[in-house]
Symmetry: C2
Subunit: 154 residues, 2 copies
Amino acid sequence: MSEQARTENTKKKLSDFFCFALYSAHKAMQRATRPAFTELGITYPQYLVLVTLWEKDGQLVNEIGHILYLESSTLTPVIKKLEAMGLVTRQRDPEDERKVRVKLTARGKRMEARAEPFFGAVKELTGLSDRRFEELQAEIVAVRDRLLEASSSR
Amino acid sequence: MSEQARTENTKKKLSDFFCFALYSAHKAMQRATRPAFTELGITYPQYLVLVTLWEKDGQLVNEIGHILYLESSTLTPVIKKLEAMGLVTRQRDPEDERKVRVKLTARGKRMEARAEPFFGAVKELTGLSDRRFEELQAEIVAVRDRLLEASSSR
DNA sequence: GGGTAAAAGATCGTATGCGATTGAATCGGA
DNA sequence: TCCGATTCAATCGCATACGATCTTTTACCC
């Protein structure tokens, strides 16, 4: 409504901000998926750690962090929480006492089946076709990787 | 590489997760833009509040929250921080003592010019063409709005 | 007009998230 | 071999973020 279309004054509205689109879409996703996680008794970051372990059990804190783009300062508390909930165990590697290996417990493994419906539910929520869903995801990932490259080379 | 293309076992890798694409892209954007904000002496959420006020000064906490999708429990501390930094003022509305109006100070207004180069820099960082940049943003916003609608109607 | 409901911020508790630093263990080179 | 550099996880400080709750003020309704 502001009729600023072709004026010299290129004052930007928040809706013009790419970074806000990402930021707000991320938060909307969190809000939309939180009830499902709450039902499972976990949070989204906890879920991400579990996904990482379901794919390959017994990874190091470091390795999980590399996959999730998280620092140990963030991961350590999350993993300790998962340990307190009885979903994973943490043990120092006898070969190299600096490393901590994270392993799923029986309960942690069983959680995978309970979380399985989550994957399809997200696509439903977005209202995208299978094809657009995959294309959009690929584009977002491509942008992410370009951003990571840009900030790592600084 | 895992050759799971058409197998019955539809075990999902993290890279298949749309929500993780959004989550990690958002974090990559934060990482890429943080140095610029640090140079301005502010953070990203603080910047968002300022953008809201640059567009329309003197808005209520409520109104800002509606635009940014943030609760008062998040906004109040952020705005108080901006006040402590001398960028905004907070004053109760004499007409309705429940409302708090947030106004830019002279310093807060001057910050707009300093932050101006930020907008174009983001597009550079993504490496997208003007056209794809706008299209992708529009698609992400559309997904966001669908997600918000889905979770509000629950 | 008075009492209940509703609105608007603020507060509290919990959970991320990251930069900087620390501590312990390991590595590597002179 | 031995000492500095590196690695890995953990800790600390700070800043979000949100649900639940609280306080104050206003609105509403009989």
